[in-house]
Amino acid sequence: MAEKVVLLDFWASMFGMRGRVALAEKGIKYEYREEDLKNKSDLLLRMNPVHKKIPVLIHNGKPICESLIIVQYIDEVWNDKSPLLPSDPYKRAQARFWADFVDKKVYDTGRKLWSTKGEEHETAKKELLEIFKTLEEELGEKPYFGGETFGFMDVAFVTFYSWFYAFETFGEFSMEAEHPKIIAWAKRCMQKESVAKTLPDQQKVYEFALGLRKRFLGE
């Protein structure tokens, strides 16, 4: 039976991008379906009734939800090339821990940069910079978070690179100045076709975030 792979996604979602990068790394052909998040398709609501969110990977008719679960699924099914998780259990645990850290911290704090103002905004900025500092320390001198090769944790975090310009502009800081190692790492990842072809232009993302800001703050 021919494999049928469909990804329900939204162009600016750093979570959806993780699935796209993983599929590209493995060279998997798939159908990309853009969702209008203000008018979700019946298919999305059927395939993810619990959360009603993108991304959803549909493999031979069966849905997989939650971006890191999707990436692990892709890694396990198409295990003949470009492994994303290392083989050593301890290194796998580290990769999962840090990907989970990104999930717990970066998005919720980052979004406060465009959805809040005043003191809440200032606090969010400080917190986000602390979060990036922790990530930069974890990266250390390694070329990738996983070590010598691009892997699971890199996939989990690099998609946020497309949002850096938005973070910087709303937060009034420079990632290059504050966290040069993260920028160097992101640019290294962007040398990979799977990443470069997936991540949208940072200016486009910023303009989208401006729209979100207007909705949240009514400006």
Binding site: P49, V50, H59, K62, I64, C65, E66, I69, I70, Q72, Y73, E76, V77, P89, Y90, R92, A93, R96, F97, D100, F101, T134
Partner: protein, 224 residues
């Protein structure tokens, strides 16, 4: 001295997941109890990011975050049965999905319903029930979420089997009722009594005192 050590706090449900995994698989370990109001320098050294329990120490190397630890145990002690995760990638993805759903939705909502009062409590309970419906459906035709034996998702939801009745007694409210959630209540009973698991429950009266005091502190802090 075992090569596996588990840092835990007696009342916390998260390290209990790891106790269950180790017990069910018959892995030898030493338990190190932490006083969460006075954390040891060892804990802070092994989990500098979150400074929380559980931390599993294996041959001197620390692993934190309960779901990450469960996967590590599964992958490291491959020959120890029962398996916590199925072999099929799709079934594995589903187990991970339900585990995450439990921690992201059910746990915070039940906790909210426990520590809040009045309208806030009502709203939290409605939201909790909306989400528990999915779990009730998922349990159709199954003894455990993992099938015949306890699996990854069951361990993640295991706290329900023990703490829901504790919370209900303290708050004087029914959190999970028989009419709406018969399968869930049956699952809770089966999990409560499951071999190796039934010996691990902390003493009920201690739990009631602990969570009652915690609830009173949190209610006192609420803005009037």
């Amino acid at each position: 001295m075992a090569e596996v050590k588990l840092f835990r706090a007696w009342s916390s449900p998260f390290p209990l997941r790891i106790v269950w995994a180790l017990e069910v698989k018959g892995i030898e370990y030493d338990m190190i109890y932490e006083d969460l109001s006075n954390k040891s320098s060892m804990l802070l050294q092994y989990n500098p990011v979150y400074k929380k329990v559980p931390v599993l120490l294996h041959k001197g190397k620390p692993i934190s975050e309960s779901l990450v630890i469960l996967e590590y145990i599964e992958e490291t002690w491959k020959s120890k049965t029962p398996s916590l995760l199925p072999g099929d990638p799709y079934q594995r993805a589903m187990a991970r999905f339900w585990a995450k759903f439990g921690d992201d939705k059910i746990l915070p909502l039940i906790w909210e319903a426990f520590i809040k009062q009045g309208k806030d409590q009502e709203e939290a309970l409605i939201a909790a029930h909306e989400n528990l419906k999915y779990l009730e459906v998922e349990l159709r035709g199954k003894k455990f979420l993992g099938g015949e034996t306890v699996g990854f998702a069951d361990l993640t939801f295991g706290w329900l089997a023990n703490l829901v009745s504790v919370f209900e007694e303290i708050a004087g409210v029914t959190l999970i009722d028989h009419e709406k959630f018969p399968l869930l209540l049956t699952w809770m009973k089966n999990f409560m009594d499951a071999p190796k698991i039934r010996e691990t429950w902390p003493p009920r009266d201690k739990l009631i005192n602990h969570f009652r005091a915690l609830r009173e502190t949190l209610i006192a802090k609420e803005p009037k």
